[in-house]
Symmetry: C2
Subunit: 347 residues, 2 copies
Amino acid sequence: TLAAPAIAQEMPSITWRCSSGFPKALDTIYGAAEVFSDAVSEMTDGKFNIQVFAAGEIVGALEGAAAVTAGTIECAHTASYYFWGQDPTFAFGTGVPFGLNQRMTNAWLYEGGGLELLNEFYATQNMIAFPAGNTGAQMGGWFRNEINTLEDMQGLKFRIGGFGGRIIERIGVVPQGLPGGDIYPALERGTIDAAEFVGPYDDAKLGFNKVAQYYYYPGWWEGGVALLNMINLDAWNALPDTYKGIVKNASAMANSVMMARYDTLNPQVLKELAASGTQLRPYSQEILEACFEAANETYAEIAAENEMFKKVHDSYMGYRKDAYLWMQLSEYNFDTFLMLQQRAGRL
Amino acid sequence: TLAAPAIAQEMPSITWRCSSGFPKALDTIYGAAEVFSDAVSEMTDGKFNIQVFAAGEIVGALEGAAAVTAGTIECAHTASYYFWGQDPTFAFGTGVPFGLNQRMTNAWLYEGGGLELLNEFYATQNMIAFPAGNTGAQMGGWFRNEINTLEDMQGLKFRIGGFGGRIIERIGVVPQGLPGGDIYPALERGTIDAAEFVGPYDDAKLGFNKVAQYYYYPGWWEGGVALLNMINLDAWNALPDTYKGIVKNASAMANSVMMARYDTLNPQVLKELAASGTQLRPYSQEILEACFEAANETYAEIAAENEMFKKVHDSYMGYRKDAYLWMQLSEYNFDTFLMLQQRAGRL
């Protein structure tokens, strides 16, 4: 009669519902939630069952945080910056414009005190979060016409995600908040002049290359977009320590695998795009610098009135300063040398 | 009486011995084996106990692979290229000169077929391996005098790790295979002219900055040095599936945390070094190009006589070509913009 409780204590049967902030069609981002769920299942012989739902199946993409806070779902695998309207501090869980790249994001989260700090904030929302994916630096969007100067940006109707929109507005762009499925027709009809989404693999799926010729880089508002598992704090506290460890480590696996998928898939599609007429263009230094100033002004404004935002901002930006000091040496020069060989056809 | 076997089946008590290829003093690399062991312990409530030993405690650094093959130890957390003398294919488990950077290494291993391919090779050595750490791009070493031209490299006595030594030999350098602890006195006395080890944090611990002024970058022979958990295949096959999953996921956590530690620690020490007189210097294009040619010649020679080496080489180098095509756009330009701001004091 001691058997059942002893076993239950070791590996209890638990079912969680995890709502992805993305549709199944985005097998990269949605897929990371499945990598997480599969890893947890593998490590518990299926006893800890995390059911993954696409955005809208049980909770809408923009309701993920509220549903986790309320305990309607135990977990949301999503982009924290979706919820920056609730509190701009949410943005740092994903990354902010001109912020940390993917590797720096991981470094800040795992070893730079970033995750502790974020979880101090998330605790006020009755949740705890762990890194569980990244897209890397995204592309800067599809434009129907070339843009070279700040003048070209005036009044431009640009579909752009949340926080980036608030910043680019300051240089005269009119940000448009269209969901993924509505972008193509709007761009085709010219209702909007430009649209950004993620990068070659995801963007080509939505067909943007068929209705806009110019593909700009970099996506300065999304230099290292992190996905998090945002978890209801009561559900978390109810887990045995072994399952807590399993959630953290499975999240780390999803974090690595998602980036690896993008890095594997994007080059293939980039080649196809370039071969079929897409024109690749860098943003001009003039535009980048104006956006950088606009970002800094925005951060200063919010920090002046939001203590938690300021606390996370100062840690994140202090980390960025040191990280870019160090990265200039070996990493950058190693990559630069090999890019030069790549362009010369020597790889 | 059914209790004990049922419990044992779920979470059996298992003890493994894991030999690090590094001394405890290298808390970054050695520390990654502890991150792995701690994660496994947390996920199994201590029932799967992986005892970590420093190099030399139970197995010498250069005997790690042989000990795993023989089953003397269940696991070695080490740099696979230590064993390239046994078979040069081992080198790809760590990375080869002018190879993949850290992020590309992960991408190739997790999603580019790299790990499957490596494990095809490791199976011939009675082992299986999982990524469990990375140093990022290492620095290019400490020199007593400036080196600008290929002429300056002639006859230069340079302490450099394994495979890089074989390559740099072709441009006239005399590689020296000194263990970590012997480097400082040799460099001080001038028995050697130069020495490379890892990067600012580890190098400063060994005091190289006190006996050599010029610190070169990048470490072109170590652009993204991966550490692996190399595991005896019989020990692996004896694990229940849950523990197999736990080993894979804990390795992924160690992989991320080790890189994050280097990225967090290196900038701080870099600032101290620069403040105390260390002169930072890039390798000249002439030297880099000659070394690149030498590397390609070396790979071609080995591939001509080693089928497995060729198979892994072709996958790895094919991946590199595409990865550097893609990386030139958003990642590189995003980083470049922020480095320019960093240099201008605007971060």
